[in-house]
């Protein structure tokens, strides 16, 4: 088979790139090896939450100039980042993922532990606030679905109280949800969302919420366990609940992430994109700093393409691998910027600034990855595979994923 572009990887970055190229009329393949990291998505894209030292950033676009010049945003350039950020929001709109937020100024999402974190674009219907230390409400009712243990309701309530809000917790028990208990997988957010796809169950939930919420409540917040296939379920619930209702992120697997993934995938396929799930590119042919073909494990023959995009992610997506002595890129053997030796890439304390988190593939300013010091001319590297940033410290993971994908797509199309 031959394509204009083959994208290796199937996460946010791969789909963003694939959609842009397919929309321009390219014949595109996305090879999604396995599960991507979108089930960890808390409902918000992040552009830049902090600088490399961890100091909070309020205006992301203004902060780009001060970043290290290895950071992917510096390679794109601050001005172009602003433009691409607008395009990213439009692309999500077109995929029927409606978001709120600006690249010029961060707003704040509420985490599953009740903390606030800087955000760029948040799915509408999710609860947000415009300041890290304050909520837009003075009193909220927090819905707790009895027995759903992937939503630490006491932590959330405590967190919201710290932000000066009066919080009441209302326990809601529902027969339809209790059925989810009997399955071996138990009560996961995604299991509940499947139950709530049934309009009868949803109606019961709305009634239970209405019964549990006192008349003077200003805002009702509940875990994001509805709307795994489309937003109608959420809208339905919001229409049936008598008070204003917003959703809060849960522990993974997160319903908004699963929903985002399926919306992007669906849009990509609708545009004529070829999506190969559960297959993995296992080898590539290299000739004079160009990739001439790749071989996917389940395909009978190699694929040829004009361009190849590496969107294979970091360690947890198998884009990077480590053995006892080194960190490497397993498919093409690309140059990697990483500390040498296992002793150096981890520090005490699981959270904090871990060197392995900034490990990644070296690339030139147009995201052609380097191999033995030379750029591969028809290959690009995007997303978490790239070196030069630490998404845990800087809060820039989804932003880098989408904007490098858009920058590379434009480059391919020009």
């Amino acid at each position: 088979m031959s394509f204009d572009t083959v994208i290796i990887g199937g996460g946010l970055s791969a789909l963003t790139c694939g959609i842009t190229l397919a929309r321009a009329g390219q014949r595109v393949a996305v090879v999604a090896g396995g599960q991507n990291t979108l089930p960890l998505f808390g409902g918000s894209m992040e552009l830049l939450g902090a600088d490399a030292a961890g100091n909070a950033v309020e205006h992301p676009l203004e902060a780009i100039a001060a970043l290290d010049n290895h950071h992917p945003y510096r390679k794109i350039g601050a001005e172009r980042v602003a433009k691409l950020a607008g395009k990213a929001k439009d692309l999500l709109d077109d995929a029927s993922i409606i978001t709120l937020g600006e690249a010029t100024r961060n707003h704040y999402r509420i985490t599953p532990l009740g903390m606030t974190k800087p955000a760029w674009l948040t799915l509408e219907r999710m609860a947000t606030t415009d300041r890290p230390d304050r909520l837009p409400w003075t009193q909220v009712v927090l819905i707790n679905l009895s027995g759903f243990i992937d939503y630490p309701v006491d932590f959330v309530a405590h967190g919201l109280r710290q932000l000066g809000c009066e919080v009441a917790v209302a326990d809601v028990t529902l027969d339809a949800l209790r059925k989810a208990w009997r399955s071996a997988t138990q009560m996961r957010a995604t299991t509940l969302a499947k139950v709530l796809a049934n309009s009868q169950a949803l109606k019961q939930l709305a009634q239970a919420i209405n019964a549990a919420v006192p008349g003077d409540a200003q805002m009702v917040l509940m875990p994001a366990v509805a709307g795994i296939e489309n937003d109608d379920v959420c809208d339905n619930l919001m229409a049936q609940v008598q008070k204003p209702l917003r959703f809060l992120a849960t522990m993974p697997p997160a319903v908004p992430g699963v929903r985002l993934n399926s919306a992007l995938k669906h849009y990509f396929q609708m545009l004529g994109g070829h999506y190969f799930l559960g297959d993995a590119v296992c080898s590539a042919t290299l000739e004079r700093n160009r990739v001439t073909g790749v071989r996917a494990a389940k395909q009978p023959a190699s694929w040829v393409a004009n361009h190849f995009v590496m969107a294979t992610g970091s360690f947890m997506s198998h884009g990077l691998e480590a053995d006892q002595n080194r960190i490497f890129e397993p498919l093409l053997g690309l140059d990697v910027n990483a500390p040498a030796g296992c002793d150096l890439w981890g520090r005490d304390g699981m959270m904090g600034n871990q060197p392995y988190m900034s490990a990644g593939v070296c690339a030139d300013n147009t995201f052609h990855p380097l191999k033995d010091g030379n750029p591969l001319h028809n290959v690009y590297a995007i997303g978490q595979l790239l070196a030069g940033h630490n998404p845990m410290v800087m809060g820039d993971g989804t932003g880098v994923a989408m904007l490098t994908a858009l920058a590379v797509a434009e480059d391919i199309l020009s």
Binding site: T37, L40, F41, G42, T111, P112, L113, M115, T116, K117, S146, G147, I149, D150, P152, V153, D154, F155, H158, G159, Q162, R178, W181, R182, A184, Q186, M187, A249, M251, P252, A254, S314, F315, M316, H318, E321, A322, D323, Q324, G341, C342, D343, W345, G346, D348, G349, M350, M351, G352, Q354, Y356, M357, P391, M392, G395, G397
Partner: protein, 538 residues
């Protein structure tokens, strides 16, 4: 216990297996006992070994007395601690680089010590244990087994408490109360509140493992101890059915023990300074030694994920006439400080091995009883531990939650409430730990932190090393203790503790898991910020 002036017969210092065993023995003989543990039970060497229930074969050639003690205790533990033991048997294998002549010496020494030792054909060994290095040229089958040290210690504590013992964890002994060459009790600090209290007893038994040398020092008594660090690696799944040892003189990385769902290779032996024993870290060199040894025993381990690396400290004791510690025995050391040092009311029980904890407890308790004029005989060799008794009723509850817990709490699982769907909800899917079991542990097993919960239930010990279960358990802990901030701080501590064991082997799947866990707690949840805020608030 609220009565500050309560006079005990015996205070036992140290909540490892030895201290727990001493407390049980004393309590069963009718003595009033207080068990004091600085942190949580099994925090020292008792919780940091490879879970091998020695047949004694390992010591047969070099130390026949220890070997004979081992096999005798081995047979006792099979009776009294059934729910802690898996009867795997063990192989001592000879590889091409080893001297096959040693096998005969070894088998004869075993038999002389009363240990069954059957020389078997290499082909038969391969059939019995498919994971064994197929290049082996000889094998001896011995009655080694696997034992769960956490469960064993808890069962001893529970039985002591059933017989009236008081037990306090997170109580650090800060001083011995000495009056005219007699130890009359201890001063201890409650590490959770900072409060200092005094406890008085006629006899104080020092069973604090390597920390025992510091306890003795508080009475001005010197015990010549040498902290010996032993490092181990846990592999992500169980590859071997039987214990596999190398049939040669004991050396580094020559034992592979199957423990429940994992395999553990051990160990190394290096003397370390006493001031480092509270924070043992496994080095890159130790990892390399252990990996190389493991692969010689079972080649599949070259490509098996390593779950974590950890290290314990053996309390080795030198004879009083051997201050440099040149010829150290692994035998039991019971010191009557009244006779040895003129310091009445103080006994130290140390040396030995986990295997012989019961015998150590018996020896120390016999001595205490002589001092107290108690003549009740020891019955710990014949009475089963709680959880190893006969089931009260035919078990009809075949839920996952019940069956998983049964492996941990034996017949006492009946006491766990698993009646509702809420109780049966799985908190830790890797190890099958339910809400009901956690609640049972929190309410009955002296559990204060998530790390304590891990020891008493195996929460977070599986392949994901506490990814989602940590948060679920923290929620439950916060609710039961009504303290959210502490539960969150505890959650972060558990993650850091898990990472400590992953960092020395952070490559392959282990690094992937670590990144996933960090992405959830730091990236998605902002737990790091929650902890920083907690520090601000205080």
């Amino acid at each position: 216990m609220d009565d500050n002036n309560k006079q005990y017969d015996v205070i036992v210092i140290g909540g490892g297996i030895t201290g727990a065993g001493v407390a049980r023995d004393c309590a069963r003989r009718g003595l009033s006992v207080l068990l004091l543990e600085r942190l949580d039970y099994t925090n020292g060497a008792s919780g940091r070994n490879h879970g091998l229930m020695h047949s004694g074969a390992r010591y047969a050639v070099t130390d026949r007395e220890s070997a004979a003690e081992c096999i005798s205790e081995n047979m006792i533990l099979r009776r009294i601690a059934r729910h802690c033991v898996e009867e795997t048997d063990g192989l001592f294998i000879t590889l091409p680089e080893d001297d096959l002549a040693y096998q005969q010496t070894f088998a004869e020494a075993c038999r002389a010590a009363g240990i069954r030792a059957d020389i078997i054909d290499p082909a038969q060994a391969r059939a019995l244990e498919p994971a064994v290095n197929p290049d082996l040229i000889g094998a001896v089958r011995v009655p080694d087994a696997a034992i769960d040290p956490f469960r064993l210690t808890m069962a001893n504590v529970v039985d002591a408490q059933l017989h009236g013992a008081d037990a306090l964890t997170y109580h650090e002994v800060t001083a011995l109360i000495v009056n005219q060459n007699r130890v009359e009790g201890v001063r201890a600090r409650d590490l959770r509140t900072g409060a200092e209290r005094e406890f008085r007893a006629t006899v104080t038994i020092n069973a604090a493992g390597i920390w025992g040398m510091l306890i003795a020092r508080m009475a001005g008594v010197t015990i010549n101890m040498f902290p010996a660090k032993g490092a181990m690696l846990i592999f992500g799944h169980r590859v071997n059915k039987m214990v596999i040892n190398r049939c040669r003189k004991p050396a580094n990385a020559d034992i592979l023990v199957p423990d429940a769902t994992v395999s553990i290779v051990g160990t190394t032996s290096d003397r370390v300074p006493i001031d480092t024993v509270d924070d043992m870290r496994v080095t890159g060199d130790e990892v390399r030694v252990l990996l190389a040894g493991a692969q010689r025993i079972a080649p599949v381990l070259a490509s098996t994920r390593i779950l974590r690396a950890y290290a314990g400290v053996r309390p080795l004791v030198a004879a009083d006439n051997d201050p440099a510690g040149r010829s150290i025995s692994r035998g039991i050391v019971c010191l009557d400080h009244e006779q040895r040092d003129g310091m009445a009311g103080l006994i130290t029980i140390t040396g030995g091995k986990m295997m012989t904890y019961r015998l150590m407890a018996q020896i120390a308790t016999d001595l205490a009883c002589r001092k107290l004029g108690n003549t009740t005989p020891c019955d710990t060799a014949s009475v089963p531990l709680p959880g190893s008794g006969q089931p009260q009723q035919e078990n009809v509850r075949h839920t996952v939650a019940f069956n998983a817990a049964k492996g941990r709490h034996g017949t006492w699982t009946e006491r766990i409430s698993l009646d509702t769907e809420d109780d049966r909800a799985m908190v830790c899917e890797c190890e099958g730990v339910s809400v009901g079991e956690l609640r049972y542990a929190l309410e009955n097993l002296n559990v204060h932190t998530l790390t304590d919960l891990r020891r008493s239930t195996r929460l977070g010990m599986g392949v994901c090393q506490g990814r989602l279960c940590a948060c679920r358990a923290a929620t439950l802990l916060g609710r039961i203790n009504n303290n959210i901030l502490r539960a969150q701080a505890d959650l972060a501590r558990l993650l850091d503790e898990r990472w400590k064991g992953m960092k020395p082997i952070a490559w392959g799947a282990t690094l992937r898991e670590a990144q996933l866990t960090a992405t959830i707690y730091q990236g998605l949840c902002g737990l790091d910020k929650a902890i920083a805020r907690k520090e601000d608030e205080q």
